[in-house]
Amino acid sequence: MPTRTEATPRDALLQGTLDLLILRILALGSHHGHGIAMAILTRSGDTLLVDHGSLYPALQRLEQRRWIKGAWGTSENNRRARFYSLTATGHRQLTVETGRWNRLVESIARVMDMGPTPENA
C-alpha cells in the first residue's frame, strides 16, 4: 500500500470548505466580502477565522464558475460594497456540496469511532 502524501489533501480540504461555507452563508441572502467573513466567524462561534486575503480569490473563483454573482450596492452603514448572491447553479451546487460534506463527515466519524485511540497517536 503506498503511503499517502501529506500536503495536498489538507490544502484541498481547506479550499473546498471555504467554498462550501461561502455558498452556505450566501444561501441566507446576499452579502459583501467583509460581511461573509464576519458571518462565518459569528456563526462558527468565533472559531473559524477566515483569512481575508484568501477570501477574495475564493469569491472570484466561485464567480467565474457562475455559482455566485456580484454587484455593487450600499451597505447597512451607507458604504459602497460589492454584494454577492447565489445563482441558480450556485443553489444546486450547494446541495451537491452539502451532501458530499455530510458523507465525508460521516465517513470520517465512522473511522474515528472504530475503537480506543492508540496510545502514541
Partner: protein, 870 residues
C-alpha cells in the same frame, strides 16, 4: 454572460472591505489609526491579492486550455524523437499539398481576372459525320453572324495569335502578338492603363502594348503613345498600354494589333478560329448553344460558300464551354489534378503514420491514463490533453510546411512545362495559408482523435496488471491504418507505373524523322528590299542554305515551312481523278520544303524524288505527298505521276503532279497518327502564286547544340536586321513535346516513392510494436519448443495478412481512379494487368521486408530473458 471585471473594480472592493473592517474595529473601541492599521494587517498583502486577481481574471477563459497545451508540450519534449518524426512527416506532406493546392488554385480554380468571369465562354463547333475534327474552331463568318443575330450575348470577339516582327529605331525582334477584333476589350471588360482603346475608325492601323513590352522596350515612357512602329510589314500607331495582368490570349502576348473583320474579306469555310463571348446575365451555356446552333443554319444563305460548306453547317452544332476550360488543356488539367490527388494521398498516409505513432505512444501511457482516471480526471480532460498534443504537432508541422512550400514551390514551377497559363502566380498567398491551416486542423483531428478516444477509456484492469500484458491483443485501429496506407501507396505506385509505361511507349514511337544532330531556327527576312516573290524569295533561301552548308561540321541543310514538334500545318481541300461530282475534294494538310530536308531529317523517300534547287526558284507544279496522303487520295493506286488540283495561297485552282512519295511524319503529337501531308516547292506555278511565311531551317551537324552563334552570324551577313528566333535542337523539341508527361511522371514517381517509404515505415512500426508487446508471449512459446522459424513466420504472416488486404483494396481503388488520368496515358490501358500485377507484387515484397525485420527480432527473443523481465 458575465462581463470581465476590471482591476479597478477589484481594488475598490478591497478598499471597501478594509474600510468596513476598520469601522468594525473602531466600534470595538480602537482608535481610528489603530483600527485602520489592524484592518490592513487582517487583510494581508493587498498587492499580492490584486496580482492574484489579475492573473486569475486574465487567463480564466484560456487557463485550462493553456495548461493542457503546456502539459502537452512538456510531454512532447520528453520524447524528442517522436516529436521530430511526427512534425517532419506531416510538414513534408502538408507542404506538398499546400504547394500543389496553390498551383491548382491559381491555374484551374481561380476565375480569370475579369468582371463576372463566369459568364465568359468559348464557342466552338462540332459536326458529327463530316471530315472535320470532333471539335473545331469557327470562321469569321460565325463571329459576324453571331454578333449580329444572337440575343443572349453581351459581346463576342475572335482573334489570331502568332509571332511577328516588331521594329523600333533601336531594336527589331520577333515577338508574340495577337490580332483581336475590337470587341475583345469590351467583352472582357478591360481598360488600358494608359491611352485608349481602338475604335472602328482606327481600322487596322493601331496597336496596344503589353505592360512588359512597354517596360522592356520603352522604359515605361508615356510619350510612346501616338508614335508609330513597324509591325510585320507596315507602320502602326501605339494608342495604349494594357495593364500587367492582362495576358490574353496567352501568357507571353506582348502586343495587340487592332484587326477588325471586313465583311467583304469573309470566305466561309475557313474553320479553326477561336470565338470568345460573354453571356447575358442569367443565360445558361446550354441556352446559348441552342440559339447559336439554330442561327448558324442561316450562314450558307448569307455568305454562300461551296456545297461541302452547306453540308457541314447542316450537321453543325455549337459548343459552348467555360473559357477557362478551353485555356487550360485537358492534359495540363489532368496532370495538376493527378498531382494534387497524389500529394493528398501522401498526406493521408503521413497522417496514418503519425496517428499510429500516437496510438503506440498512448498505449505506453495507458497506465498513466488509468491512474489519472482513477484519481478523478474526467474523460473529456484526457481527450483534451491528447488532442492538445496532436494539435501542437500539427501546428508545428503546418508552420514548417508553409516554409517548405515557400522554398520548394519555385523549384517545382521551374521544372513545370512552359506556357501553363497563370502558373507563375502560384505562391504562398492568403489562400494557400488558409488551406494549410485547414489541413492542420484536419490533420490534428485525424492524428489525435483515435488515440485520444482509445487512451481516455482505459480499463482500470491495466493498473492491476502492472502495465504489462503477457498476450498481445489485436489492435484493429492500427491494422486499419496500415491497410489504408498500403492501399493508397499502391494506387500511387500504379499511377506512376502507368506514366512510366506511357513514356517508354512514347519514346519508342517512330515519328517518321530523326531528332539527333539536328538544329533548327527561323529568321524573318521581311525587311524592305529582300523581296517576297517566288523566285527572288527562293533564291534568298538557297543562298542562305549554301552559306550554312559552309559552316564547319555541317553535313546538310534543308527548309520546311512548318517544322514538326514546333508548328502545325495548314489544311486545304484537293481534288483528284478519284474525286466525284461537285465535291470540293479531300481534306489534307500542306507545307513547303526545299534543300536536303527529307534526307537530313531521315524522312524516308518511298518513291520518286525530292525537290531540286531549280524548283525552289523556277515556277513549277511539282508536289511530294506523304504515304497516308497518297493512300487517302489514290487508295490502292500508285501515287507517283498522279495529278491533283488544289488552290494554295493566292493561286487559282491549279493542277500539280506528284513527283515523290515520302513517309508520314507525326507533326506535333507523337500520340497521333502521321499526317496526310503535301509538300510544295518554294516557288509555285507562277512567280506570285503564294504568299510566304518564314520557313524553318534544319541544319544537320554533330555540333547541333553549338551552332546558335555561328548561325546568327551567317544570318546577320545576309539580312542584318532580320530577327532570328525559334532556335532549338530537334532533341529539345522532342523533349518539350513530352514535357507534360515526363514532368508529371517524375513528380508522381517521387511522390509515390515517398508514399511507399511511409507505408513501409508504418507497417514496420506497427509490427515492431506488436513484437515488443508480445515479447513475453513469444518467450513462453519458445520456452515450450517453438523454433525461431515458426515465430518469424507467424510475425511475417501477420504483416502479410494486413498488406494483402491493403493491396486488394488498393487494386480496387486504382481500377476506379486510374481512368481519370487517361488523358496522360499512351499505349497503355488505365487498367493494365501487367502494371497492376507488377506493382501489387512490389507492394507485397516491400510489405514482407518491412515485416521481416521485426520478425527477426521476435525470433531472437531469449526465452529466459523475456520471462524474467516482468
Amino acid at each position: 454572460m458575465l462581463g470581465r471585471r476590471s482591476q479597478r473594480d477589484f481594488e475598490n472592493e478591497v478598499r471597501a472591505h478594509i474600510e468596513l473592517e476598520a469601522e468594525r474595529l473602531r466600534a470595538q473601541g480602537l482608535s481610528r489609526e489603530d483600527a485602520e492599521r489592524a484592518a490592513r494587517r487582517n487583510f494581508g498583502n493587498v498587492s499580492v491579492a490584486e496580482d492574484r486577481f489579475y492573473y486569475a481574471q486574465r487567463f480564466a477563459a484560456v487557463q485550462d486550455w493553456l495548461r493542457d497545451v503546456r502539459h502537452a508540450w512538456r510531454a512532447l519534449l520528453r520524447t524528442p524523437g517522436f516529436l521530430v518524426i511526427c512534425v517532419l512527416t506531416l510538414a513534408l506532406a502538408i507542404g506538398a499539398v499546400t504547394g500543389m493546392f496553390s498551383v491548382v488554385n491559381n491555374v484551374i480554380i481561380k476565375p480569370l481576372p475579369f468582371q463576372n468571369a463566369d459568364r465568359l465562354v468559348a464557342i466552338s463547333g462540332t459536326a458529327p459525320g463530316s471530315d472535320l475534327s470532333e471539335r473545331f474552331g469557327l470562321g469569321t463568318e460565325f463571329y459576324v453572324h453571331y454578333k449580329e443575330r444572337s440575343k443572349l450575348l453581351d459581346g463576342i470577339f475572335t482573334f489570331i495569335a502568332g509571332t511577328s516582327t516588331f521594329r523600333t529605331d533601336k531594336r527589331v525582334e520577333r515577338i508574340s502578338m495577337a490580332w483581336p477584333t475590337n470587341e475583345m476589350y469590351s467583352t472582357l471588360g478591360v481598360r488600358p492603363q494608359l491611352g485608349r482603346l481602338p475604335v472602328p475608325e482606327d481600322g487596322d492601323d493601331v496597336v496596344l502594348l503589353s505592360d512588359k513590352l512597354w517596360s522592356d522596350w520603352f522604359g515605361r515612357d508615356p510619350a510612346v503613345i501616338g508614335k508609330s512602329f513597324f509591325v510585320s510589314d507596315s507602320m502602326k500607331v501605339v494608342i495604349g498600354v494594357m495593364p500587367a495582368d492582362f495576358r490574353i490570349p496567352s501568357e507571353n502576348t506582348l502586343l495587340w494589333v487592332a484587326s477588325p473583320i471586313l465583311l467583304d474579306q469573309i470566305r466561309p469555310g475557313n474553320f479553326g478560329g477561336p470565338l470568345i463571348a460573354r453571356l447575358k446575365p442569367g443565360v445558361t451555356r446550354e441556352q446559348l448553344a441552342n440559339e447559336l446552333t439554330a442561327i448558324s443554319k442561316e450562314l450558307p444563305a448569307r455568305f454562300g460558300g461551296p456545297p461541302t460548306y452547306a453540308r457541314i453547317i447542316e450537321k453543325h452544332r455549337a459548343l459552348v464551354d467555360p473559357v477557362l476550360d478551353r485555356i487550360i488543356g485537358p492534359t495540363t488539367r489532368t496532370s495538376l489534378w493527378v498531382l494534387l490527388g497524389a500529394v493528398s494521398f501522401v498526406l493521408l498516409i503521413a497522417c496514418a503514420n503519425v496517428a499510429n505513432l500516437f496510438l503506440v505512444r498512448a498505449e505506453g501511457r495507458r497506465r498513466d491514463m488509468a491512474i489519472r482516471r482513477a484519481i478523478g480526471a474526467s474523460r473529456a480532460q484526457l481527450v483534451r490533453l491528447q488532442m492538445a498534443e496532436a494539435a501542437l504537432v500539427a501546428l508545428a508541422a503546418g508552420g514548417l510546411a508553409i516554409l517548405i512550400a515557400k522554398l520548394t514551390l519555385p523549384l517545382f514551377l521551374g521544372a513545370a512545362p512552359q506556357g501553363i497559363p497563370r502558373i507563375g502566380l502560384a505562391g504562398v498567398d492568403g489562400w494557400t495559408v488558409t488551406a494549410a491551416f485547414a489541413l492542420v486542423v484536419l490533420t490534428a483531428l485525424a492524428c489525435g482523435a483515435v488515440p485520444a478516444l482509445r487512451a481516455s477509456a482505459p480499463d482500470l484492469t491495466r493498473l492491476r496488471e502492472g502495465g504489462r500484458g503477457s498476450t498481445g491483443r489485436r489492435h484493429w485501429g492500427r491494422d486499419l491504418l496500415v491497410v489504408g496506407q498500403t492501399a493508397l501507396a499502391l494506387v500511387l505506385l500504379i499511377g506512376s507505373a502507368l506514366l512510366v509505361q506511357s513514356f517508354n511507349k512514347l519514346r519508342r514511337v517512330d515519328p517518321g524523322y530523326d531528332t539527333k544532330d539536328l538544329y533548327t531556327f527561323q529568321y524573318a527576312p521581311d525587311q524592305p528590299g529582300l523581296g517576297n516573290r517566288g523566285p527572288v524569295w527562293g533564291q534568298l533561301h538557297l543562298n542562305m542554305m549554301d552559306r550554312l552548308r559552309a559552316l564547319p561540321g555541317v553535313t546538310g541543310v534543308g527548309i520546311v515551312e512548318n517544322i514538326p514538334l514546333d508548328e502545325g500545318t495548314n489544311g486545304t481541300r484537293v481534288r483528284t481523278a478519284n474525286t466525284t461530282g461537285e465535291s470540293e475534294g479531300t481534306r489534307v494538310n500542306f507545307t513547303f520544303s526545299a534543300g536536303d530536308y527529307f534526307k537530313i531529317m531521315g524522312i524516308d523517300m518511298l518513291a520518286g524524288r525530292a525537290f531540286t534547287n531549280d524548283e525552289a526558284i523556277t515556277p513549277n507544279t511539282s508536289v511530294i505527298v506523304s504515304r497516308s496522303a497518297a493512300a487517302k487520295l489514290w487508295p490502292g493506286q500508285n501515287a507517283l505521276g498522279q495529278s491533283l488540283q488544289a488552290r494554295i495561297g493566292r493561286s487559282t485552282q491549279t493542277s500539280f503532279t506528284v513527283v515523290g512519295v515520302v513517309d508520314d511524319v507525326k507533326q506535333y503529337d507523337w500520340r497521333l497518327a502521321g499526317e496526310e501531308l503535301l509538300y510544295f516547292a518554294l516557288t509555285g506555278p507562277t512567280d506570285s502564286s503564294w504568299a510566304r511565311g518564314t520557313p524553318a531551317y534544319v541544319v544537320k551537324s554533330s555540333r547541333a547544340e553549338l551552332l546558335k552563334g555561328e548561325v546568327r552570324n551567317v544570318v546577320r551577313q545576309v539580312a542584318p536586321e532580320a530577327p532570328v528566333y525559334r532556335e532549338y535542337t530537334m532533341e529539345f523539341l522532342a523533349q518539350r513535346s513530352m514535357v507534360q508527361l515526363t514532368f508529371t511522371m517524375l513528380t508522381l514517381g517521387v511522390v509515390s516513392g515517398l508514399a511507399l517509404l511511409l507505408g513501409a515505415l508504418g507497417l514496420y512500426g506497427v509490427l515492431s510494436y506488436v513484437v515488443a508487446e508480445r515479447t513475453r508471449e513469444i518467450g513462453v512459446r519458445m520456452a515450450l519448443g517453438a523454433t525461431a522459424g515458426v515465430v518469424r513466420r507467424q510475425v511475417v504472416s501477420q504483416g502479410a495478412k494486413v498488406v494483402l488486404i491493403g493491396v486488394t483494396i488498393g487494386v480496387v481503388v486504382a481500377v476506379l481512379t486510374t481512368r481519370l488520368m487517361s488523358a496522360l496515358l499512351f499505349g497503355v490501358k488505365p487498367v493494365d494487368p501487367l502494371v497492376f500485377g507488377a506493382m501489387s507484387a512490389t507492394m507485397l515484397v516491400v510489405g514482407m521486408l518491412a515485416s521481416y525485420v521485426p520478425a527477426r527480432r521476435a525470433s531472437s527473443v531469449d526465452p529466459m530473458e523475456s520471462l524474467r523481465s516482468d
